[in-house]
Symmetry: D2
Subunit: 350 residues, 4 copies
Amino acid sequence: MDDAHKIRIAVLGASGYTGAELLRLLLRHPAAEIVALTAEKNAGQPAGAVLPHLAFENLPPLVKTGAVDWKDVDLAFGCLPHGTSQEVIAAIPKSVRVVDLSADFRLAGIHDYATWYGHPHRAPELQKDAVYGLTEIYRDRVKGARLVANPGCYPTSAQLPLIPLLKARLIATDDIIIDSKSGVTGAGREVKQANLYAEVAEGISAYGIASHRHTPEIEQGLSEAAGKEIKVNFTPHLMPMNRGILTTIYVKLASGKTADDLRKELNRFYVKEPFVKVLPTDALGPATRYVRGSNGCGIGVYADRLPGRAILVSVLDNLVKGASGQAVQNMNVMFGLPETAGLEGLALFP
Amino acid sequence: MDDAHKIRIAVLGASGYTGAELLRLLLRHPAAEIVALTAEKNAGQPAGAVLPHLAFENLPPLVKTGAVDWKDVDLAFGCLPHGTSQEVIAAIPKSVRVVDLSADFRLAGIHDYATWYGHPHRAPELQKDAVYGLTEIYRDRVKGARLVANPGCYPTSAQLPLIPLLKARLIATDDIIIDSKSGVTGAGREVKQANLYAEVAEGISAYGIASHRHTPEIEQGLSEAAGKEIKVNFTPHLMPMNRGILTTIYVKLASGKTADDLRKELNRFYVKEPFVKVLPTDALGPATRYVRGSNGCGIGVYADRLPGRAILVSVLDNLVKGASGQAVQNMNVMFGLPETAGLEGLALFP
Amino acid sequence: MDDAHKIRIAVLGASGYTGAELLRLLLRHPAAEIVALTAEKNAGQPAGAVLPHLAFENLPPLVKTGAVDWKDVDLAFGCLPHGTSQEVIAAIPKSVRVVDLSADFRLAGIHDYATWYGHPHRAPELQKDAVYGLTEIYRDRVKGARLVANPGCYPTSAQLPLIPLLKARLIATDDIIIDSKSGVTGAGREVKQANLYAEVAEGISAYGIASHRHTPEIEQGLSEAAGKEIKVNFTPHLMPMNRGILTTIYVKLASGKTADDLRKELNRFYVKEPFVKVLPTDALGPATRYVRGSNGCGIGVYADRLPGRAILVSVLDNLVKGASGQAVQNMNVMFGLPETAGLEGLALFP
Amino acid sequence: MDDAHKIRIAVLGASGYTGAELLRLLLRHPAAEIVALTAEKNAGQPAGAVLPHLAFENLPPLVKTGAVDWKDVDLAFGCLPHGTSQEVIAAIPKSVRVVDLSADFRLAGIHDYATWYGHPHRAPELQKDAVYGLTEIYRDRVKGARLVANPGCYPTSAQLPLIPLLKARLIATDDIIIDSKSGVTGAGREVKQANLYAEVAEGISAYGIASHRHTPEIEQGLSEAAGKEIKVNFTPHLMPMNRGILTTIYVKLASGKTADDLRKELNRFYVKEPFVKVLPTDALGPATRYVRGSNGCGIGVYADRLPGRAILVSVLDNLVKGASGQAVQNMNVMFGLPETAGLEGLALFP
């Protein structure tokens, strides 16, 4: 692509893991030109100082957000912590389109945001314009959006298998149990004791039981699909791996339906999708290692030993399909590019 | 203790992980004397050749089972693969008591064994004498038993939280979902591709979905506790850690009951137990790293976001409370020793 | 590229880790067409059965070597175990060019092969034609080669820093100590106890001390560079990570030379190389995680506390620059393609 | 032991990893009574709040150092950061004996401390009384010491193999290269980016090359053994495991000596030691996993391919023999107890 027609991109909060992953993808994207990188604490340093694996790439230096010249920018990716993102994005000129990877614009209800995040939303009028960017489901809305709220990693892993089944009325709406197991980068690069190597390696723990902030985001998507308000059980676990989420979902079948019916519907729904793959019945159980580093999401469907129930298992890389990969996918949709542009990379196994 | 009164012990199948863990515990047990170690493939070698961490300990050499002089043995621990164990143990003189760590004698129904293990049981008459050794529950039966079937790791982690609640009629019997996450040693030291480092590290996978052989063992214990036949969903996952199982259990509350009622009952039931601990409400979520290397089992109880439901989380070390530690605990009960003898070791954290 | 002009490729031994990594790279290579995959044990299965991460890619089925129609093949990559490779490759028509990733054709001296591998070489005449494919050093020879012996992972990590320094006479030839730390995939996908997760995780061990088979390969390259026979100390260590080698090299400086002189020479030598990067003095210490999944090799140079000595540290991904990436790099050279074709992927961090 | 005669112990800085490990050992030590735990930031909390694996043990609450009643204390263990330790310990009454696990009192020369730690020593007069507690070497000095400076983890792993060889004049003093690989707990529980799981897992890095602060500590011990000032190369590496150090040492043999001579001397020197074991020639290479959780140190000796040189490899658990275990060993010596008291625990493998 002619450089003159490339998308000029700013990455806000480039020194964390989702920022790093965006850069990995965008540096090899045929239509992307990275024109600005911000990092409040590390402003003034070259990107390679905080992201040594990119030290030999041609990247602009890290600057404070205030130093970005927005006239040169077509698209901003927000990789800032929630709570911070909303204010920063509110200050960006409307001529710049935005894909925000934080949680700030994901909940349509301002009130829900305040309940789960503990403070009133600081850009409520902007929230109204935000489109929830679960690409396979909301592709049409994303296309024309100025502000896309990129989904959370857990919500992506839960909604992709469940939304088609709820739309097709194949499962009960009052008995959805979502048990997720996540690698550590899901918590970002924030320096806190719980994320130290020796606190994570060789162990697993449950956390945020029945109270994790991704719960309302999951419920919002499922409720829209079902046409009624849904509450779910969502129990996340932290385990020792860099990347990956495996989500095991326990559902009650609609009357007369079977696990095969669920698999068929998911197959039908996703058959043309390049990134979402329904596993055949004879495949090995889903494993995160088979999507590591790729934008893929694998879904398996299994009969339950309990009559009238079924089990869904989804796997994805939380930094790719669960964050930066889906963000690039949304960019592709917003700018009329092939949806797979820059996302063709295969999983790194082992 | 006077050496003349020590329990003379043979470990059958000493070269695997449960065998190694037994030796770790028995070598420091005040009343244990290890008199024979068997290992068919490695017979003739010193124990240190296959268990280098014990190379400087005083241990008998590895021999074939046929070379054991049973007159010198009070107790045999069976650490053989299932299917093999039943024949070997059938050939041991009745004067020798046995704690078998394989699955061979766990299912009371010979027919169930054949169904789940794919061949007729080879020692059906011996099966009748076997006592299921979930110590906290069946302590009285274990005391006088000649043959104790030591519980599986997953079943221990599922039954310890569930049995008291089923006995007290606090939860529904038709809607028990058990989602387990296990470290790799649960699969033993068998050399197969799925257990290679590069197939396990940095990933998680579901396996044996709705078909794992520990399912009937779990159901057997729960059914006895409930006084009726129970079927459960049991979904195991393999994750990258040496030791540990975390089991998340989703239950429906009996009418009018709350998560607090469950926690109270578990507290009441286990209050005097040295190894089973119910976490207070303000504790961090249960984590396997806090029981690694110890015989402890921690249980947390949480209200569910779905009305009328609750969440139980248990953690244990699959090689200790889930195998060799519980085996020693059973030995202590069988020989009238303090139940904690040789099992006082604290968790190794980190 | 027009499909009619793509390089038609057979991968021999496609079910192991180097085979898998080749497929990851070749499936996205603009000039590669994969026409045949062999796997003796798994012949008859689809590639996705043994490489589930590629299950949704368009790949030929696994066949036995004898079933390959060589008329359709321009280039064969050999990913077979050493000892096997030489016989299989000897049977391939001369019209097919070969990049062999095994150790079989790396040692120019047939006698050296017999000494280190314990049996006479089975294709001695073919050995004469083999070109050692350390691309940055032997690019000109590789260009016209029919058979390229792709370097071992350890030798690549040791020779890239050392060869320029020996050529420039900057270091002593009789005091080179090479301490390497490797991830587990360096040992291949062979199913053996030492590679089980629980034998590797949470530990490190030295192995093959002063006797590892990569030693003569290292010495061969260094000797050619120095113009005299060189012996080295090479001590490998196995550590818990999937990918990566870090090699720390302790050298004695030539009279009057400093660590800075070494760094300058390496900079001069590699300044135009796309894959080999000399770290600036103010960079963080070299780390394998910054090259994971990429074809890069990073080299740091440090003054020693011992006078007259210096320390070199190199990092690379053993499956990429240490195996399949360098193999593709050699293919690019052999077929007149841009050397970076298909190898532009950035490191996956974290 | 009668409680009235137990050693009354205060642990200063109990919330870190060495503090935690001390508690694990002391809680099962037959002669130890823990009477005070300090933790400046977490004062007021129960120990179980920061060390959940000890939540069910009988431990005093965390208090500030100023709240300790020193009349009740026989022995204080210092687990504070270096720089802090010296001031706190200077304020403890002389009636209390001290084992300090920080680096503060390890360097006999006040000037050396200032050079390497960047500030003048704050308790120079106390430094004079300090005894360096490498137990096997300085046991006699430790016995009567009031203040024992417990050795660093790296220095323990380097000095145990080297000191006997230097004393016996078996190796050259001007060519000692020490390449160490350490698990993450060596860096303590300090919350910093470099110790995050995702910065450590699946990688290895060299750091502190030729400048690590343990260098002068190593040189001090070796110089005393050699009877002359020695400088060494010491290059540490950080790798993904919780516990363990493997140190590979490259030495030049004294004229006419062989690797066998070295092994024999080490055997002679350590033959009666319960914790230091010289591996026989036919043993597997030393591996940290075989000493994990134990107070053992294994040493292997190997001929080098380079003539006139040899290779030493030592392994230990950095939190046990490299810190808290050796501290308890020193306590045992100081109080006339059997040196193995409380330290009999075997390695946890896997």
